[in-house]
């Protein structure tokens, strides 16, 4: 409300104003709002209502409003949110006003795809270095960057202020790489290897595991199948799809 915690005007860095400490769930949604806002800005919208934005981001509008209220947001009742202003706000809170340097370790199958991904640059990041342990990979040029040896990490860290390390090595090497990243001062890690990393307190790790996502989907698939096999207990009007014969359950039967 009126207590507008002068929001560290995005242009006005310097004396870092204490960030409101947002609920983790909110933080996880802000990037989604940001993406939706950029789409809106690109299509010429100047303002957007919580209803409109929440639809574009795929969430409930009350949730969106509460999320935005946490960052002392600037909506106008009866009108909505100023798109450009809100983008600034969110980018500021997410720390995207400075383009953060990312070190990508492990330039194999997946690493190549990541290295060539333009989503880094367009969403606030910059690949500062490509690193690999395989001598035959060192020296290769990808997208204008030369692959360096992972043991050069200290040198790289000295040249650039690395904000985030991305691990795309096999699981067996991931912990060692994490240790190396931590050793040069990296405090945020995104891990694609299917394993848990142990890191000292103060270091954040996020994980992306394709197989986990698939297995979660598999569970729901399994459950849907087992439900349609039963005489629709709670029924829950499964509308939408014409012909209730539920596509999927068939495959359970096939199994041979």
């Amino acid at each position: 409300m009126s207590q507008h915690r002068h929001p560290g005007a995005p242009g006005r860095a310097g004396a870092v104003p204490a960030l409101p400490d947002l609920p983790e769930a909110t933080v996880a949604r802000l990037p989604e709002y940001l993406r939706a806002l950029h789409n809106l800005a690109d299509t010429g919208h100047e303002t957007v209502s919580s209803e409109g934005l929440s639809a574009a981001a795929g969430v409930n509008s009350a949730k969106l409003r509460k999320d935005l209220s946490h960052l002392g947001s600037y909506g106008t009742r009866g009108v909505g949110y100023d798109v450009a202003l809100l983008i600034e706000q969110i980018e500021y809170v997410l720390g995207l006003t400075q383009r953060r340097a990312v070190a990508l370790v492990g330039v194999g199958n997946l690493g190549h795809a990541l290295a060539g991904y333009d989503g880094f640059a367009s969403r606030g990041f910059r690949i500062a270095a490509l690193l690999d342990a395989d001598p035959s990979r060192v020296g290769e040029e990808i997208n204008g960057l030369v692959v360096r040896h992972v043991d050069d990490l200290p040198t790289v860290a000295a040249e650039e202020s690395l904000a985030i390390g991305v691990i795309a090595t096999p699981a067996a090497a991931a912990q060692q790489v994490a240790d190396q990243l931590v050793a040069v001062g990296v405090t945020s890690i995104l891990n694609f290897a299917p394993c848990v990393l142990s890191v000292p307190e103060g270091v954040d790790v996020r994980k992306v595991d394709l197989a986990i996502e698939l297995q979660i989907l598999s569970f729901h698939e399994h459950r849907k199948a087992s439900l349609t096999a039963l005489p629709a207990t709670g029924g829950s009007a499964l509308t939408a799809l014409p012909g209730g014969f539920a596509a999927t359950d068939t495959q359970e039967a096939i199994g041979t």
Copy 2:
């Protein structure tokens, strides 16, 4: 407890026994337990305690026990869990007793990496088809599979019983691809494109967005920086690490 809901013994499919409906949070952790269990099995462990398994999976042991208790699990007090049995249990619940067929749409930069990923096969899935809209990509062979045109999807679906669709196309094409997948009966989608998909009720969508993960890390990075700048206001006894000056710098010292 004693009500051991005869757990549809993994070997004994057939009359699909109603699945316990697990809390979503639990479902999301089961794959992690499964991976840890496989590691344990490979290293010759026959049993494991909740303490040991939870450590390997990176969670709290009470949480692990509660999760397992939801699937009427078979632990032995004083001993722990039988590794092989627990693997069977979890694989059954996740619906991994049958190898599910995955259709991968969009064989570009990222799609190539996914197509060459052995984590599919080793974790319960099988790439049944590679699809792309670009005529110049159709016919290309990757890892023993030939890329087919996305319009062949109905044919593919007729040949195989597709369980899951993976979308790795640009965001602009993702909704259309999703519609096509739904049209041929796919009810589970994993989406790598940075956009929200709208699908009919009964279809599950999960999203993997690299930029979102990075932005979440960026937020914490930003916050850590703004905290160390301040003279520990609410302090919240940030114990553990000696020298209150914020965790991170210590490991800096280790380096070299």
